[in-house]
Each structure stands twice: as structure tokens, then as C-alpha cells.
Amino acid sequence: MRYLPQTDHDREAMLARIGASSIDDLFVDVPEEARLDGPIQDLPMHASEMAVERHMSRLAAQNLAAGSGPFFLGAGAYRHHVPASVDHLIQRGELLTAYTPYQPEIAQGTLQVLFEFQTQVARLFGMDVANASMYDGSTACWEAITMARRVTKRATALVSSGVHPHYVSVAKTMARFTKDKIVYRAPELQARTDWAQLADQVDGDTNCVVVQYPDILGRIEDMRALAKTCAEHKALLIAVVTEPVAMGAVVSPGEMGADIVVGEGQSIGVGLQFGGPYVGLFACKQKYVRQMPGRLCGETVDADGKRGFVLTLSTREQHIRREKATSNICTNSGLCALAFSIHMTLLGEKGIRQIAAINHEKAVICANRLSKIPGVRVVNDLFFNEFAIELPKDSREIVRDLADQGVLAGVSLSRLYADEPGLSKGLLVAVTEMVDEEDIEALAKALEGALA
């Protein structure tokens, strides 16, 4: 077996030192009836590298890769260009095959990256501090809600209809068992969010208001008034960002008064990968730092007085605090955080603004083009790189038809909101820098054909 270095000769010598006559002697504590005599039945035996590669390539070929044609899917996962050096660097063995940096003297590489990542995320969102990553945006969102409960000691979370339905599902799943109250209803196909109505509902029992920016329909709105209302009632405003590239074009939630900003970092450096692994972003105001979930990296000095970095404030975490921890999270998304950070370093201020401008410009061109198709209505007034359109019939069928023609037209709202017939004609269209004018025209033509 190519991954196992021991030879039979080695094994014999080792058994002799151990004082065992066979490997089986080492498994004596397993009850006899649970010990298997040989390889488990109904499973294949070992395979060569070539055979495995062939098998996996065959499976991969059964998928329609996003790059194979016009592509407009978003809804929480976005197809952006990732520079070649990002993937090259994350495969450096010292970064790829390292563990959580519990021995800081020989993990300064990982730790400095995390410190830089935390700073990048905090600045991107306009916040004071950020943690070293969560699993993904949806779990980060739930963690933020529980954090609001810890901070305020209240039980009700008001969730905007514009929050990604999967994020809401995750929160509802958890709330069912923790007895938190989640107030939520599905969105409507209109240009305005429900933030004004949410502000009216905030009261002394509200622990947080959760809004998404840009929201599930791609809408953007000023959250300053809502932030003010939350502050008056001592409830926290949580902003969810599923498209961090948008921050290059719009005012950040932190600047508008959000208390916690969570998000999905997949857009920057990570790639689509059929939904995972992604990287959860979690940032908040300094005053809440001791209530944060997850790992934090901090600056310190070593015995020679040299600057160095360590994991810190660990008394919030499960390995120290056990049942009293702020979260049960242990393994996070370190390598995806590294990819995010490298891509963000390559972009810098200049690059993220440019890429955001290009995304916006192309999305506007696309929205204008689609609005010319008879029967198609663009729902949004304002948007960044994703918007909702309303079609004259159920969008799911159309999406499938267009996929058969090699055009991945977007995400149909009936897939995301199965129980909302009022949304079944909605389609989310995301336009990134990867899309060109021909793709937009191909989408428009295909839609015209499907609706004719």
C-alpha cells in the first residue's frame, strides 16, 4: 500500500519489542464478537493511483462545470476569478498540512496569516475585531444570534425576509431545540426590504435584528435608521454579507452601525466547490469580544522580546471552558481563510474597488438587457451584482430548460422557497467579472426563446 511505510520486517521487529505475538494481540480489548476476521464485505480492495484518478475523473465529467457556458448563479455562492497564485500558495505543505496552531513557536506562519485575515475582515466590514473564521456564513449567522442572546439575555430574534433562506433554516433548526424565538417570514418580489417594518417590531424582548446586505434578492438599503432603533432598545443589529466583493462598492455595515457582521467569504479566494468548504466571517464591535465564538489570534512578544502571535482569549472556547464555552466549534476553515487572505492581499484596496466596479457595471448592463424582454420585470431599484427578475411563468422549468441548452440562467426562487407559490416566478441573476457581453446576450436570447 503506497501510503504505508512499514514493511513486514519492521512490523515483526516492533511486535517483538512490544512483546506481542501478533497484531491481533493488540486488539484484545475489543469484544470477540465485534472483531472482524478480514476485510469488510461488499467493499472494493485497494486501487492504484491511476485507477482512482480515472474513477474520479469519470464522476467529475458527469457534472456541467460553471466555466463551460454562460453562468449566472449566485444566491450565497459566487463565481469569481481567483488568481493562480492563491491555489499555488495554499498547497505549500507547511500551510496545507499543519494543525491548529497550538504550538505557536512553530506555527507563526499560520498565526500571522490569521492575524492579517482578522484585520482584513474587520476593515472590509467596518468593524473593530474579527475572529479566525467559522465553518461558513450560515453557521456564523446562527452563532451571531446566540451571541446576541448571551449579550442581551433576551430570547427573540427578528430576522429580515431578505436573509438567505438556508441561513434562516439553520437558525430555525437550532432555535427549535434551544427555545429561542425566531420571527421571520418569506420575502415578496418588491424593490424595498422589510427593514422599516422590522424597526417597528423591535421591543424590550428583542435580542437582535438580522438583516442581509445585499439581501437574498440582491437589494441594498441604508441600515442607519434600523441601527438607531436597535441601539435605543439595546438590541443588537446583525448584518449578514454573503457577497463580500460588494464591500468594494458599497458603504460597509459597520459604518452604518451594525453591532455584529457575519458573512460568507467564499467569493474571495475559495471557489464554488459545490457548496463547501467555504469560510464563515465573523466580526463585531470591540466591546463584545469576550462573547465571540471561535478562535482569535492576538499579538504578543516572545522571550526575546520579538513580536509574535498566539491563539488568545481561549477561555471562551470548548477545550478550556467545556459546557460553559461560547460555542462548541473547534476545527474551523483555516485553509479557506488563508485563501481569502491571499486573494485579498493580491487585490488590495485598489483591486477590490476595481473588481466591484466591474461586477456592478456588468450587472447593470444585464438587468437593462433582460428588462427589455417582454414579460420580464426587474424587481430591484438598487443592487450590486445580483438582482431578482419576475418571469411570466414558473422559473424552475425555465432554469432547467436553459441548463439543457448549456446556459445556467440563475437560481429559481421556487427552489429556495418551496412553500411560497408567490415567489415561484422569481429568478435570481448574479453577474460577476467572469461574465462577458456574449454571455449576457446568450442568456437574453435563451430567455426570449423560452418565453416565446
Binding site: D29, E94, Q118
Partner: protein, 523 residues
């Protein structure tokens, strides 16, 4: 001591001791100091080329960004150099033995990286029409089949993102099953030797947590456990093999007793590597167990993640498994059961744990790993992992106290204590001295049931020669301690950094970079 914010060395307190040949730059040949990106980059520099902003029609309203972020950029060569230099301050499996107990730091085959990057896996969107991702669903289905057969369990939830998320998945399924029968049990029992994630998970799901005592030989105290069972106990969380590196002999009896009392059995599968291919947890009566793909099935740890934590379920818990999951139709095609399709025959599913469908990038890597080994190779994996750990245990028990050496063979990891090493010397000194010897230390001070625990898990991907080298280093360090070598307290001396001041880091947290006052921005 004042905080050094200048991005260069402060005057070493004892530079002669730490570096008899100081250099002007602070670099030491191949060991290069690297500033922060905030100290070398600036907002005008970039490593990507895009056409200059040409704002056409804006649909951003008043929300268009005007203020700067102060996010530094670097050109591509500077970026490559920055991260390459940082990587060299890191230890990884590729460099040498990484014997962290409970972490299973085995070799990461590069074939797995290659297949995960095939465009048909890496460049597909989670919400594409199901007909256009049949191969991806096929990977999930195939991996699920392996996991069910390897554990002898009838169902598996693939979406949990890591081990602790898998624990949560299992505990929520238990909660849902109890709710379904109108049984409001409020307590989960957890052994003192458990990973911190176990009690944290139970509490996160709203349960009260109580400890199960251990016996002298490092296993769950069966009588004490049975004594505590009752109508308020929802279940137990047991790690098997446990964190002392021992197989819980009474596992089946424990399962039967817990079931008898109306509870469920959760197994923490972090240490599955010790038994994979040789023992099926399903034969021991458990109801749920998470499998760490980033441990047993070798998806890279990446400096702390991502992981993947699928959960296998018994018949009793299977109906409550979370959405989404993959089903195969009679014609061989795959469908994805999500919210929209769940109600018709999965009404008991407790809901969704994450956006989308789980850690696809880890599934492809793990499947490639499992196929490479096959049923026979996986059996060899657990044999060699256990052989290697016992070799370490029996090679060191004359030098270090091994509290459970008499409890029988260990499984995948060997546990030692610093009790009686030498007056004034503790686990941390031994661990930090190993760094100078070129090894990543073992897990320190865990499990909590042993004084100054040192938990060593070599894994199966170490050769005898490699283990002998490590044992030689470990013995020499312990000998130095026994001889009263005070210099151990200052170790490591040769790492990129000496011991770091963790107390100061926590007392005055500096979690983001701020430009020092009066500093001039990088030109």
C-alpha cells in the same frame, strides 16, 4: 514590557544567549523575518490587473462607497514571497512526525488534492439543476455507502462541517427522537476524559451536562454510569477508543444499559482511525457517531480547517437526520432531498444544519483516499496505527510514567504523564525541547484526567525508522530533565520564535493591526 508595534525586533533581552551571531536584518540565512502585509503593502498596489474603474450607470443609490478601507495590496511577486516566507515558520506533516494525540495527523496524499481540483468538482455551483451535477451527487452517495459499511450503520448525514458540528447533528437527532415520543429528558452524561467539544455541544443543544467517572484503568466506570441512568438522561457521549488511547471494553454493555433506560448512545468518532476496517461501531450498539474526514480519511488540516464531520445513524435515529441528503432512484439517477422534497417522506428530519450540502471538497478527497486503500488497506491502516502507538508506549514506559500501561495494549495513541519526570520539570518543558529536536510536540495537558498529560499519536504513515528517531529525541529530552538540565525551561531556542507571552496576549488583547502612532505609512 511595552508592546512592540514597529514590525522589527526590539532589543533582545539576552541576545548573546539567544543568538551568538546577530545579523543586521534579524534574518538567519534561510530563516527570514517577515513583516505584516500592513507594513509592506499599500492601497495603491495590487497583484491583479483589471481595467480601470469605469463607472457606468450606478444602481447603488446613496450607498456607493466613498471612504477608503485601508486594505493593503501587494504585487504578485511580493505576495508569493510573503506567504512562502510565512510558510517556512510553520511545521507541517510534510516536514516530519506530527504526533498530536486525538488529531490523527497522517500523510495527506496529493492525488486527493488533484481530484478535488477537477473542474467538474471544483467549479460547480451548489444550486445548479440536479440533472447537471449527477457526478457530484454520485460522489456523495458513494462516500456515504463506504461510511455506512465501514461503521455497520444504516444511515449517514453528510452535511456537518466538522467534528463538533457532527456532534451537534447527533445530539439534535437524539433530541428530536425524544421530542417525537414526548419525552423531555434534560441531561447528557459525558466522561471526564472527553474532548471539550462533547460537553460544549450538549450545552449548545440546550442540555445539562454531567460527568461520568472513570475507573483506575482509564475507562468509563460502568457501575457508576448505570447507577446514574434514569428517566432524565437523554443519552451519553462516549469516545471510543477513548482519549486515554484505550478501547472501551464495556461499550456494548453500556449501549444496552442506556437503551434499557430509554436513552441514546452518541459515540465521538475522533479516534476511528484505531479501528477502521477491523471493528464496526454499529456492532457495539451505538446510535450516532461522527467521522472526522480530516482525521481518519486524511483531508488536510490546513492550519485548523476545514474539516468534515458526517454522522452515521442507527435505525432509531435515521428518520431524524438533517436535510439535505442524496437518494438514488430506481433508474440509477440521483436526487437531492431538500426542503421542497422532504415533506413527502422525511417529515421527521430535524431540519438544516448548514447552507447547501456539506463539504464537497472534502468528500472528493476522502473518497479518493478510501478507494486508494480499499477494505484491505483500511484494515492495514488501523493495524499499523495501533502497532506504532504500542511501539511508542513500550519504548518509553521505562522513562515516563504511563498511567494506563497496565490496562492492556493501547489503541492508536500512547498516554504518558509528567509525574515523576524530575522535580521542577513538566510536560511543557519536554514538549518545547522536542521542537528544538525538529519534532512537533505531542498533545499537552489533555486528557484532563492525567497529571501533565502527554498524548502521542504517531498514525500509520510513520515508518519504524522515523519512530526510532523520535523516540531517541524524546528519551534524550527526558534524560536531560532527569539530570536537572535547567536550560529546558527556556526551550525552544532554535524555532522562529522563543516561548510566547500568552498571558500578556490575553490580558491586553491586540486582535487587529493598528498603525503605530507617528509611524510613516509604507511608501
Amino acid at each position: 514590557m511595552s508592546m512592540n508595534k514597529q514590525g522589527r525586533q526590539t532589543q533582545p533581552r539576552d541576545s548573546a544567549a539567544s543568538d551568538p551571531h546577530p545579523t543586521a536584518t534579524g534574518n538567519r540565512a534561510l530563516m527570514l523575518e517577515e513583516p505584516l502585509i500592513f507594513e509592506i503593502g499599500d492601497s495603491e498596489r495590487t497583484g491583479v490587473d483589471w481595467p480601470a474603474d469605469c463607472w457606468g450607470e450606478s444602481r447603488l443609490g446613496d450607498l456607493a462607497r466613498k471612504e477608503p478601507f485601508d486594505l493593503p495590496g501587494l504585487s504578485e511577486p511580493e505576495t508569493i514571497r510573503h506567504y512562502t516566507r510565512l510558510s517556512r515558520q510553520n511545521y507541517g506533516i510534510d516536514l516530519g512526525l506530527f504526533p498530536l494525540g486525538s488529531c490523527t495527523m497522517k500523510h495527506n496524499p496529493r492525488l486527493n488534492e488533484k481530484v478535488a481540483r477537477l473542474p467538474g468538482f471544483a467549479d460547480i455551483h451548489p444550486l445548479q439543476p440536479v440533472a447537471s451535477v449527477q457526478g457530484a451527487l454520485g460522489v456523495i452517495h458513494e462516500l456515504a455507502d463506504w461510511l455506512k459499511k465501514l461503521t455497520g450503520m444504516p444511515a449517514v448525514a453528510m452535511s456537518p462541517k466538522a467534528g463538533a458540528h457532527g456532534e451537534l447533528c447527533g445530539i439534535l437527532a437524539i433530541r428530536a427522537a425524544l421530542e417525537k415520543r414526548g419525552d423531555a429528558r434534560e441531561v447528557i452524561l459525558v466522561p471526564e476524559s472527553a474532548h471539550g467539544t462533547n460537553p460544549a455541544t450538549a450545552a449548545f443543544a440546550g442540555y445539562a451536562v454531567e460527568d461520568i467517572p472513570a475507573t483506575e484503568d482509564g475507562r468509563v466506570d460502568f457501575d457508576a454510569l448505570v447507577e446514574r441512568l434514569g428517566p432524565d438522561v437523554a443519552g451519553v457521549m462516549i469516545t471510543n477508543p477513548n482519549t486515554c488511547g484505550l478501547f472501551e471494553r464495556d461499550m456494548k454493555r453500556i449501549s444496552d444499559a442506556v437503551h434499557e433506560a430509554g436513552g441514546f448512545v452518541y459515540c465521538d468518532g475522533a479516534n476511528f482511525n484505531a479501528i477502521v476496517g477491523r471493528v464496526r461501531p454499529g456492532d457495539l450498539g451505538i446510535d450516532a457517531m461522527h467521522i472526522n474526514l480530516h482525521k481518519t480519511f486524511s483531508t488536510p488540516h490546513g492550519g485548523g480547517g476545514p474539516g468534515s464531520g458526517p454522522v452515521v445513524f442507527s435505525e432509531a435515529l435515521a428518520p431524524f437526520a438533517p436535510l439535505p441528503f442524496v437518494e438514488q432512484a430506481k433508474d440509477g439517477s440521483f436526487r437531492l432531498v431538500e426542503e421542497e422534497t422532504a415533506e413527502d417522506h422525511h417529515a421527521d428530519s430535524f431540519g438544516r444544519m448548514t447552507a447547501f450540502h456539506g463539504q464537497m471538497g472534502m468528500f472528493t478527497r476522502a473518497l479518493a483516499y478510501i478507494m486508494s486503500h480499499g477494505a484491505d488497506g483500511l484494515r492495514q491502516v488501523s493495524e499499523d496505527a495501533v502497532l506504532n502507538a504500542n511501539y511508542v508506549l513500550r519504548s518509553m514506559e521505562d522513562m515516563l510514567e504511563a498511567p494506563f500501561a497496565k490496562s492492556g495494549p493501547c489503541m492508536h495513541e500512547a498516554l504518558f504523564s509528567d509525574k515523576g519526570v524530575a522535580e521542577g520539570f513538566s510536560t511543557v518543558d519536554i514538549a518545547k525541547a522536542l521542537i528544538d529536536e525538529g519534532f512537533h510536540p505531542m498533545t499537552m495537558y489533555f486528557p484532563l484526567v492525567v497529571h501533565g498529560a502527554m498524548l502521542i499519536e504517531p498514525t500509520e504513515t510513520e515508518s519504524k525508522a522515523g519512530l526510532d528517531e523520535f523516540l531517541h529525541a524524546l528519551r534524550s529530552v527526558v534524560e536531560r530533565a532527569k539530570a536537572g538540565d535547567e536550560s529546558l525551561h527556556g526551550a525552544p531556542y532554535h524555532a522562529p520564535r522563543r516561548r510566547l507571552d500568552e498571558t500578556m496576549a490575553a490580558r491586553k488583547p491586540v486582535l487587529t493591526y493598528e498603525k503605530p502612532e507617528g509611524a510613516i505609512a509604507a511608501e
